[in-house]
């Protein structure tokens, strides 16, 4: 019965996409579909944290951005002059930073009382200045090299698809750091700490030009699929288009989008399969037992904080993978476009609406909410047109309403979250067995 309902829900979702395909264009439908796939992966990552363990991550944006960084650092060709100008300095600065941290930890372990505070403070101050002393000149050297075109170290020049895994690793590293600090304390603190780290990640990406060119953006990323223009000049493709009886140019665009879809779908299915397996394994059962009754689990000798750290890292890694996929699809890395609404909040709406704790629910939520998000824009504008149709051209209120229409989406998404949380907290596809 339930299976039946879920199949219908997904069928309905594809029906919506088909309507866009027939009504607007297949190219638009595929663009939405691709972002639906990526959204679903992100939602899956968040569901691993929230649905399996009840961890509230308000910094999804930061982890997604780290995936984007990976796309740049993996796929861009190295800027050799920049490397020779400053890479050694940067490396040395990183080592110096590591030494400072290690020395501080060592001092804190060995000393006690006032001595401990004083010595650690001295180490931190000295370490800071030494690190900065090495770091700053190297950064200037790197950023001085053709700032309009490069001005950064570049990457490894590997295929961009490698970055999907690397993005996961980056996000996992950041998650480890945040989790170490904030897990095991009040549940609010993880939320606050993730909010903080994500704001800082974005600030770093906007300002550290030597790393990813900051707000100057990195464009022209490597692509995992052929370019339209190449296809249009390839014999087999032209003949394929001929046999299908379509226009080569529009078919090339659709073909490229479809190729992305296949790649994303493979990732989604793989992560989905792993998540489901994990959820049904003894590990998954234990996670849910901890979530539902932490005290009892603790009394049974389970190391709750450790398990939480595990699940937090895993979920963040999945978000990082999705972040790298997104940047790959965009073909460029633009730190200025990361905002918490699109990258944190929207994902939360997906998870809650889909059904927290249920992986299929998250996937459906990812599809549905992305679709609504995209289609709400024209609908909102149209709505405002209707509302203001009675007003005269120069009416101030009319202009204001028309201009403010985009902000309606924010409100609507907030409302949806609050309403679902309140009236249907189990979402569209509830967790099996329930809480």
């Amino acid at each position: 019965m339930r299976i039946h309902r879920n199949v219908l829900l997904f069928a309905g979702m594809f029906g919506l996409l088909a309507i866009v395909g027939f009504g607007q264009s297949w190219s638009v439908a595929l663009t939405i579909f691709n972002l639906c796939l990526i959204s679903s992966v992100m939602a899956l990552g968040v569901n691993i944290q929230w649905g399996y363990a009840g961890l509230f991550n308000v910094g999804i944006m930061g982890f997604a951005a780290l995936g984007g960084v990976a796309a740049v650092l993996v796929s861009k060709p190295p800027v050799t002059e920049a490397w020779s100008a400053g890479a050694a300095g940067i490396g040395l600065a990183i080592i110096s930073l590591g030494v400072t941290i290690a020395a501080t930890i060592y001092a804190r372990r060995k000393l006690t009382g006032r001595r401990r505070s004083l010595v650690s403070f001295a180490i931190i101050v000295a370490g800071f200045f030494i690190t900065r002393g090495i770091f700053d000149p190297s950064v200037s050297a790197i950023e001085a090299i053709e700032p309009a075109k490069t001005g950064y170290l570049g990457g490894l020049g590997l295929p961009v698809i490698v970055s999907w895994a690397v993005g996961g690793l980056f996000a996992a590293g950041a998650a480890w750091l945040v989790g170490k600090i904030a897990l095991g304390l009040r549940s609010d603190y993880l939320a606050i700490a993730t909010l903080g780290i994500s704001e800082i990640i974005i600030a770093v990406l906007k300002n550290e030009d030597w790393l990813t060119r900051g707000v100057k953006n990195v464009a022209g990323l490597d692509r995992p699929v052929p370019r339209e223009i190449e296809l249009q000049n390839t014999d087999w493709f032209i003949s394929l288009a001929d046999t299908l009886g379509t226009n080569v140019i529009s078919f090339s665009s659709i073909f490229v989008k479809l190729s992305y879809s296949v790649l994303f779908a493979v990732v989604l299915l793989a992560i989905m399969w792993l998540s489901e397996k994990a959820l049904k394994s003894p590990w998954g059962r234990m996670m849910r037992a901890i979530r539902d009754n932490r005290d009892a689990a603790e009394a049974m000798g389970k190391d709750v904080t450790r398990r939480h750290l595990q699940v937090f890292i895993l979920g963040s890694a999945v978000v990082g993978i999705a972040g790298a996929m997104l940047t790959t699809l965009d073909g460029q890395f633009t730190p200025g476009t990361y905002n918490p609404l699109r990258y944190t909040f929207l994902i939360w709406v997906m998870v809650i609406v889909g059904g927290s704790g249920n992986n299929w629910g998250s996937v459906l939520g990812g599809f549905l909410i992305w679709f609504v998000w995209i289609e709400a824009e024209p609908v909102g504008a149209w709505l405002m047109d209707v509302v203001t149709s009675g007003m005269s051209e120069g009416n101030g209120l009319r202009d204001h309403l028309l201009k403010s229409a985009p902000h309606m989406r924010l409100m609507v998404m907030g409302m949806i979250l609050l309403l679902v949380l309140r009236f249907s907290p189990r979402g569209l596809i509830p967790e099996k067995g329930g809480r």
């Binding site: 509230f56 304390l185 979250l417 309140r422």
Partner: protein, 337 residues
């Protein structure tokens, strides 16, 4: 000697005075967060946007007053509009409590559910603010701008460096002092204030004493609304009003509340100043300051800025992290975890 004096004036002008004003603004914000935490027991992510909402209403009323020629020169008209902003925000918060949080109190939902719904509220409020006043910078300060102008200061003292004190900075400090005194008087001396402390201390026993939780919660929201609107308006007068900035203020405000000991009003005030002074001293460029103090051959040629201002939120975060690692209950023992 004059060099040392000049250095001190420079430091006061760019660090002491602005950080004091900023600290007072953060303290007021953190007080709101800490009160809500003490009574409702969750971190209110909507507080930054509550500040934005209250400030927005204040700005709209200010503009209306200005258009009618109402003014309290040399003070900014916004002070006159402030009570209206507070009233609207009180209404807003009581409505959200009624529509959102009350239900979760009734079913005794887990704290994290409150946090999550406060994030939902945050986005709705954010949407309302952007919808009404737009996402851009708004200026609404009028009246006299300076108490002491750098030029006059130089002329009067004959020093090379000038000291500027803006009306908004003095107002911030003055109003913050009045508000804090009033708040502490209320909490320490009145029956309702004591009942709020009792409720925060031991909810079950408060119920057994006949203290009505709904009343305590209502008063908490009213105070939080007033604090948020005042903090937001003062911040807006001192700097400028932009919805996104207010959302970003959430981090230093949380840091301030947690550093001081969350749930502890005294801690919130101390925390506000700790965060503000750390932020300003760490992001200040000491080049000119050192040039006064150091012999010529030692003068720095870089900016001598510990951290670029783009990273000012990182300062709050680092403070937050240090507190969580070293003393999670904060300076003044807040709520246990």
């Amino acid at each position: 000697m004059t060099d040392i004096l000049n250095a001190l004036i420079l430091f006061a002008n760019f660090v002491l005075v602005p950080a004091t004003a900023y600290g007072a603004q953060l303290a007021l914000g953190a007080l709101g967060v800490t009160l809500v935490f003490g009574i409702l027991r969750f971190s209110n992510f909507a507080h930054g946007d509550t500040m934005a909402f209250g400030t927005m209403v204040t700005i709209l009323v200010t503009w209306w007053f200005q258009s009618m020629g109402v003014s309290i020169h040399p003070l900014p008209t916004a002070l006159l509009a402030l009570p209206f902003g507070i009233l609207a925000t009180v209404g807003m918060l009581l409505a959200t409590d009624r529509l959102v949080y009350r239900f979760y109190r009734k079913v005794k939902a887990a704290p994290i559910v409150f946090v999550m719904s406060s994030v939902g509220v945050m986005f709705v409020m954010n949407g309302i603010v952007r919808f009404i006043i737009g996402p851009d910078d708004q200026r609404f300060a009028d009246g006299e701008r300076f108490i002491i102008k750098a030029r006059d200061f130089k002329a009067a003292t004959g020093m090379a460096e000038g000291l500027t004190i803006k009306v908004s900075q003095a107002l911030t400090l003055g109003i913050a002092v009045i508000v804090v005194i009033a708040l502490f008087w209320f909490l320490q001396r009145t029956r309702t204030g004591k009942s709020m402390r009792a409720f925060s201390d031991n909810e079950d026993l408060a119920l057994l004493s006949g203290i009505s939780p709904e009343r305590v919660v209502m008063i908490t929201w009213i105070i939080a609304a007033a604090l948020a609107t005042i903090a937001g308006t003062l911040y807006g007068l001192d700097k400028s009003f932009k919805p996104f900035t207010y959302f970003q203020l959430l981090l230093p405000i949380f840091a301030a509340a947690i550093v001081g000991g969350i749930g502890n009003p005294l801690g919130a005030i101390a925390g506000g100043f700790v965060v503000a002074f750390s932020e300003v001293t760490i992001t200040y460029a000491y080049k000119k300051f050192l040039r006064y103090l150091l012999p010529e051959n030692l003068e720095p040629d870089s900016l001598v800025q510990l951290l670029s201002t783009d990273y000012k939120f990182a300062v709050s975060f680092v403070i937050l992290v240090m507190v969580l690692l070293i003393r999670p209950t904060g300076i003044f023992k807040g709520k246990v975890l």
